[in-house]
Symmetry: C2
Subunit: 122 residues, 2 copies
Amino acid sequence: MSNAKVLPLLEPEPVAPCCPPLTERPMSADEAEVAARMFKALGDPVRLRLFSAVASHEGGEACVCDISDVGVSQPTVSHHLKKLKEAGLLSSERRGTWVYYRVEPSVLAAMGALLAGAAKAA
Amino acid sequence: MSNAKVLPLLEPEPVAPCCPPLTERPMSADEAEVAARMFKALGDPVRLRLFSAVASHEGGEACVCDISDVGVSQPTVSHHLKKLKEAGLLSSERRGTWVYYRVEPSVLAAMGALLAGAAKAA
DNA sequence: CACCTGTATCGACAGACGTCAACATAGACA
DNA sequence: TGTCTATGTTGACGTCTGTCGATACAGGTG
C-alpha cells in the first residue's frame, strides 16, 4: 500500500452526501461526526498553516521541505500532515527523495458549500 | 453586562481582515491562530449539531430548549454553546425565561470564502 | 557497500478538552 | 416572599492532543 484509503469514507463518494447545507435542517449525529472530523483537522493553527502552504503552492502541491517552516519540530510537522491526510484534506505521494502533498478539492468544496449556505441564512 | 464582547477581536471588524483566501499565500501564524479558533469551534460533533440546529431554525435563531436534544447533559450543552459564542459563531440574548442563540453571519461568510477559494485551486 | 538527507514512527509528557453531577443564578408566577 | 423552570457555572474526572527527542525507514550519492 502507498498513500491510499486512509479514510475509506472519503474515497468512494466525495463527501457529497455527508452534509446538508447546514441551514437546511439540523444535522444528524452521523452527519455531524463526519463533518466535524474535517473541521477539526483545520482547527489547529499549525495544521492550518501547513494546509494553506500546500494549497497556495504552485500547482496545488508542495514538498514537505517547502512547507515545514512553521515553528515546530520535524516530527510534529509529519504528525500534522498525517492528520490532514487522515481527514481527507490532503493526499501524499513520494517522488524520489521527497514526499509531495496536495489538496483534495472535493472535500473542501463540500465544506465551503456547508458554510456558504450558513452565511446566507441569517 | 449581558452577552457582549466575549471575543473582542470579532467586534470591531467582522473577521474580514483575518484571513486571505487560503490559497493566495501561506497563512501567517497570527492569521492561522484566528482562523483555527473558528474551525476548532465546529470541530466537535455536538457543537456542530447545536450550530446547525440554530442555523436551520426559523429566523436563524433558537431557544436553548429547542436545540438541546443532542444526547448530552444540559451543562454540556451550555458549555458548548459558550464555546461557539466565544469563537464568534453565535450570539445570545435573554428574553424572559429563555435564552436565544443566533448565528453570526459575517464570520461564517469569511470561513466559507476561505474554503471556497481552496476548493477552486486544485 | 557506507554515508547522508528527507520523512515517518515511537514513546513519553504536559496541557487541553468533553463530560457529568452538584450547585448557582435569573426570571415568571402565586 | 417562596417556588418552579430554564440556563449558566463550578469542580472533578478520564481521555484526547500537540509537542518533542530518539529512532527507524527510504532513497540518493559516493
